[in-house]
């Protein structure tokens, strides 16, 4: 049976891991390739690198980062952040990504998802969906690293992206990201029910219980950053906890 995945996330700016709350107050948290290798050794099922470089110079270094991380890994690597075209996606795949996440550019031009899916396969085309609460049971899509609310309904966008060929949805709760208050399980349940493709939960994880809640709400995989970077838990710790609660994980 397909196991549930634990996915450490590296937010990378100008070649270094950074962390902060809602992408603000970023501080240095290490070398991407070194951390990637450490997480694989702990039992990570996959790794996500999100490039949050603010400048074109910073963004150019991301291919070197991807190459270095790929060289240190023998598990799947998803790369996102600033992907604007299918050629951008192709360059990231060439550098060593296995999947590419698209966010803002896909909202501006949804056909980007189809172009990536057609050229490289749906399993490569990941929709990074950042959602913020917009009323009871309603969420809207936010873009540009959370700076801009779009008014687009998150459920409708998830469905449309899956129809266009997105093979997976990396769903980040904008309200929970960096808050350590747990994933938005209501949002997760709604999106998971709206699409057939796998959904990765992101935003708010601080404890093993948070991961368990997200998986029970319908997530196929759970993504977290700071709990790993701070050394509070290893991936192996979390897998033990999940397994003892009846979740099937890769040993």
């Amino acid at each position: 049976m397909l196991t549930r995945r634990i996915i450490p996330c590296l937010d990378v700016r100008d070649g270094r891991i950074v962390k902060g709350v809602r992408f603000q107050n970023l501080r240095d948290a290490g070398d991407p390739a070194e951390r990637a290798a450490a997480y694989e050794a702990q039992g990570a099922d996959e790794l996500v690198v999100l490039d949050v470089s603010a400048t074109p110079e910073g963004r150019r270094t991301r291919y070197d980062t991807v190459r270095a991380v790929r060289g240190a890994l023998s598990i799947p690597l998803t790369v996102g952040g600033g992907v604007r075209s299918d050629d951008d996606a192709g360059r990231l795949l060439e550098a060593g990504a296995d999947k590419v996440g698209v966010n803002t550019a896909a909202v501006v031009d949804p056909s980007l998802i189809g172009r990536i899916a057609t050229r490289f396969g749906s399993q490569c085309a990941i929709l990074a969906l950042d959602a913020a609460a917009a009323g009871p049971g309603r969420w809207e899509v936010v873009v540009e690293s959370g700076k801009k609310r779009t008014g687009i309904d998150a459920l409708e966008w998830a469905r449309r992206a899956a129809d266009l060929g997105a093979g997976e949805i990396l769903l980040t709760s904008w309200d929970r990201d960096g808050t350590r208050s747990g994933y938005d399980t209501e949002l997760l349940a709604a999106i998971s029910a709206a699409v057939r493709v796998p959904v990765i939960a992101s935003g708010g994880a601080a404890t093993p219980d948070h991961l368990l809640e997200a998986l029970r709400a319908g997530a196929d995989a759970v993504l977290a950053a700071s709990i790993f970077h701070d050394g509070e838990y290893t991936v192996a710790d979390l897998k033990r906890q999940l397994a003892s609660n009846g979740v099937t994980v890769r040993p």
């Binding site: 790929r70 796998p198 196929d220």
Partner: protein, 204 residues
């Protein structure tokens, strides 16, 4: 020390970086097969593949590779097919109705079904039949919406289940076709790759 090289078939859109890195870790460099002759003569050949069945077959046909691949597999020359590469061995696929596969094995590739997420993305079991010499039991990383469901005569198979039971791998001597990605399957995948390279007489 002899130069250890594996030829890789470029199917246009396949992501080759992970395969190249995995080979390099075993001390093996890769080069691209650039002619049908090359496909027939390479001591060891990798047929990777992501993307759609028809697009990959069109590319193989256009470059005259299809007949050479069929001949190579029939002759039992060391070949490793990955993901879509395995599916291309079949005669056809529900993904691309009307498109003709290599036909190295009978049978048709079908879409996954059942109360499961599609595509299957993640780690699932590999359960080899007793006849398998290369594939051992373990967990491997899969990324597929389609799969072969029957074991062709003359091949040993490994199995997994996602909604339906399907072929995780086929092997016949040094010809190994994996629905999962050995190059993304951690130490378990690296060990499988090493066994195949050893059987192919390339390295290790």
């Amino acid at each position: 020390m002899t130069q250890s090289t594996v030829a890789v078939v470029r199917t246009g859109t396949a992501n080759l970086a992970s395969v190249a890195v995995a080979l390099r870790r075993r001390g093996v460099e890769h080069r691209f097969a650039d002619s049908p002759r090359d496909i027939l003569d390479a001591p060891a050949l990798v047929l990777p593949g992501v993307g759609a069945f028809k697009a990959a077959m069109d590319e193989l046909d256009a470059r005259g590779f299809s007949a050479a691949l069929r001949e190579r597999v029939a002759a039992g020359a060391p070949t490793l097919a990955i993901c879509l590469g395995l599916q291309l061995f079949a005669r056809s696929s529900e993904e691309s109705p009307g498109a003709e596969g290599l036909g190295a094995v009978p049978g048709a590739v079908r879409r996954l079904e059942g109360d499961v997420r599609i595509p299957q993305l993640g780690w699932n079991l590999v359960e080899p039949d007793p006849g398998c010499g290369l594939v051992e039991a373990g967990h491997a990383y899969y990324a597929n919406s389609y799969a072969l469901r029957e074991r062709p005569d003359g091949w040993s198979a490994a199995w997994t289940t996602h909604g339906v039971r399907f072929v995780a791998a086929l092997e016949r001597g040094p010809v190994l076709a994996c629905q999962f990605h050995p190059e993304l399957s951690g130490p378990w995948g690296a060990a499988l790759l090493a066994r195949w390279l050893a059987q192919a007489g390339v390295a290790c």
